[in-house]
Amino acid sequence: MNPANPGAHSPSSHRGDSVSSSRETTTRFPLDDWMEAVETEHVPRSDLNQIVLDYLINAGHKDAAVKFAREAGIVLTVDVGLMDNRVKILDAAHDGRIADCMKLLEETSPDLLEYNMDVYVVVMKQMLLELIRERKISEALQYAQDVLAEKGAEDPTLLEDFERALALLAFDKPEESPYGDLLDLSKREEVKAQLNETMLAADGRSAESKLALICKMLLWSQDDLKKRGVTFPRLTDLATGLIVDNTDRSSGESHSVLQGLMM
């Protein structure tokens, strides 16, 4: 039911809001204590090994996975032979043999690219770039024409991407041109990663390795806590595991922002 006089009986109605609770979160976590805890925290070696093995298998590093299992004394209960097709396709993408890559895909999972248009576009783009990289100019032009005739109409971004790629042909040394980033080999890694995810997902397997999940969760957790006003030592570099005292840093940042505004 409604109270006759809403709010009249609520002298304390403002007490319970977030002001009081944010006060209690100023608990400090000194970096040294935190590091000591991180240092002494026990993580079973077997867990770490499993994470690494999972990554190697997930990312399609068959040879490394087999060797790692041997060195770490893990009995592989997974038939790594099942990886072979995926590894072949990923290797082809890795080496820039996109035509091979597409052929293998066609053989092993015929409709995969048709059902994953976004990945298909990425692969086609890479195909064109690899032709340009090899200076197969007429082939590149022909390929671009064929693809655009077929798919370009459906997808305006494809047209745009192809135009950028073809602009590379205007340069003697495309790698050093303003569009050189297109030929960066990290693009192959991106194609590879996307293909891998698509193939894993198509097989009903986890597209993401445990390692990727752990890293994502870590970054998300830190952002979430920060958003909620909790101060704690932050891990700022995944690759080295560098942890910094966030309290000092954030105040420093806001300070410099202020200075920037004042100037």
């Binding site: 039911m1 499993q50 690494v52 890694e189 752990i214 957790s221």
Partner: protein, 514 residues
């Protein structure tokens, strides 16, 4: 009882954040009486007007690590008017009121079926309720929403944006004869919460899955590679490390950008721009190491300065281990460019130009870059000390710095014209370098990176440390997705994972292989 709770709320640490299981006799208005272990609420006030409203909160707030918190209130008697409110309340909200009337409180009222959202004005929401009805109240801590059920039927979302970190279950009564009983999970619920839980699990996964790291796709993949390579190197899984590094070698090398070598150095933590290394603290101060390929293989190994300075106060085990290996290496005169180091010797070691093929070994015995697996130059091996007085002097000088006992063996090598065929040849075995690599690596990493553990271990330990903070102040997502859950899923045997993933029935967190 405990077992039921663990089933309902597997990620709640009761010692830190107890689950509300009863009403709080110290946090109720005086018109309320509690019985049955503080789960039954009886109204004992005058019951004449709103001024006689009385509410009670639970002993503890709802921990976010519940993910989904749910309780049910059974109306034993609606009393005279059935002014019964079921809901949630922040601490310190006036208890002389029904839940929902004031800021920081939320309630569903039996007499009119309205919900009250921090306001004296209700909104129509669901049916009225009275004697015999069971009203459930659920707090979804993933999406910060509240929903109600009546007699096992979901009534839908009632409130959103419930982000306050301490919300308490709350019941308010106002007329004579009202009696309700509460089930906080002690008994089976009338409503099946498992379907809601499944939905929230999907939501929680999506929260993480959609989270975008501030890295490009390529950088993200590279980061993961670095973590893995770091782990393999750190723990001496050499064959795996070699194979793994080969699989992205050409990408990184041909790139004009990151050279594999630099890459490995980055893994070693040296190129990562790590700041804050206390001055004078490090005993071994690594700096840029030239790639072995930059050095002339056939001698004229120029020693760059200051890679490793010998100082008196090194950690003992390492110092000994390292020194004696150093001796061996000098005998070998590996392209010790690999292990470029100037040992504090009276001899100007950068003058160390050695005649062709004087003394060579090979095999990437590089201490930190233990990753150089080239097999191409075995031919150059095995030429002995030839008459180079400079080298001999350096070797001897260096030897003087060594602990006598530890150096003895290494020194003995010099007695043989062909150290590789001597009884002490094992010292020259590249395998001997591995323990050195490991201890040096640890020392270098430890110096540069705060800790001597591989990054992977740090990531996990750090995540584990974050968990209790999140359990107190974070999001309910952690009830469905957290580091412990991921680690636990590792222990599901691969075979099961395979079977389940092949049948396509399990959730993707369980399947991982191939």
């Amino acid at each position: 009882m405990e077992k039921k709770l663990v089933e309902l709320y597997p990620w709640v640490n009761q010692a830190e954040t107890p689950i509300p299981m009863c009403w709080n006799p110290k946090d109720k208005f005086s018109y309320i009486t509690l019985t049955q272990n503080d789960t039954k609420i009886l109204y004992k006030g005058p019951g004449k007007s709103q001024k006689d409203a009385a509410a009670v909160r639970t002993k503890h707030p709802i921990p976010v690590s519940c993910g989904l918190f749910y309780f049910e209130v059974k109306v034993i008697s609606k009393g005279k008017e059935g002014y019964i409110g079921v809901g949630l309340s922040q601490p310190d909200v006036n208890l002389n009121r029904l839940p929902g009337w004031d800021k920081g409180s939320f309630g569903y009222h039996g007499d009119d079926g309205h919900t009250f959202w921090s306001s004296g004005t209700g909104r129509s929401y669901g049916p009225t309720f009275g004697t015999g009805d069971v009203i459930g109240c659920g707090l979804d801590l993933v999406n910060n929403k509240c929903f109600y059920t009546k007699n096992g039927m979901d009534l839908g979302v009632a409130f959103t944006d419930l982000t306050h970190p301490s919300l308490y279950p709350c019941v308010g009564l106002q007329s004579t004869g009202e009696v309700v009983e509460t089930n906080f999970g002690q008994e089976p619920f009338m409503f099946d919460i498992s379907s809601i839980k499944k939905e929230l699990e999907v939501d929680a996964r999506n929260v993480i899955a959609k989270y975008q790291a501030k890295l490009s796709r390529g950088e993200w993949e590279q980061t993961l590679q670095k973590i893995v390579l770091d782990y393999l190197v750190h723990n001496g899984f050499h064959a795996a490390a070699e194979s793994f590094s080969k699989s992205y070698r050409n990408t990184t090398e041909g790139n004009g950008g990151v050279h594999v070598r630099q890459f490995i150095e980055m893994v070693g933590g040296r190129d990562s721009g790590v700041a804050g290394q206390p001055e004078g603290k490090s005993h071994l101060r690594p700096s840029r190491t030239p790639s072995p390929r930059d050095l002339n293989r056939n001698g004229s190994t120029k020693h760059t300065n200051g890679i490793l300075k010998e100082e008196p106060a090194r950690p003992n085990g390492l110092a000994l281990n390292f020194d004696s290996e150093m001796e061996t290496e000098v005998v070998l005169e590996d392209h010790s460019g690999d292990c470029v180091m100037e040992v504090d010797m009276p001899v100007g070691s950068d003058a160390g130009t050695h005649t062709n093929g004087l003394a060579v070994a090979h095999n990437g015995g590089d201490v930190t870059q233990s990753m150089d697996f080239d097999d191409d130059d075995d031919e150059e091996n095995k030429v002995v000390f030839g008459g180079n007085p400079e080298l001999l002097r350096r070797t001897l000088d260096f030897g003087k710095h060594l602990n006598e006992f530890a150096a003895k063996e290494a020194f003995s090598l010099m007695a043989y014209s062909d150290p590789w065929r001597s009884p002490l040849a094992h010292l020259l075995d590249p395998l001997q370098r591995e323990p050195v690599c490991a201890s040096l690596n640890s020392a270098l990493l430890g110096d540069e990176r705060q800790t001597s553990h591989p990054a992977l271990k740090v990531l996990i330990s750090h995540s584990k440390r974050l968990f209790p903070l999140q359990a107190k102040r974070g999001s309910g997502v952690i009830a469905f997705r957290n580091i412990f859950e991921v680690l636990r899923s590792l222990n599901i045997p691969d075979s099961e994972r395979m079977v389940s993933s092949c049948s396509g029935k399990t959730s993707d967190s369980e399947s991982s292989s191939c």
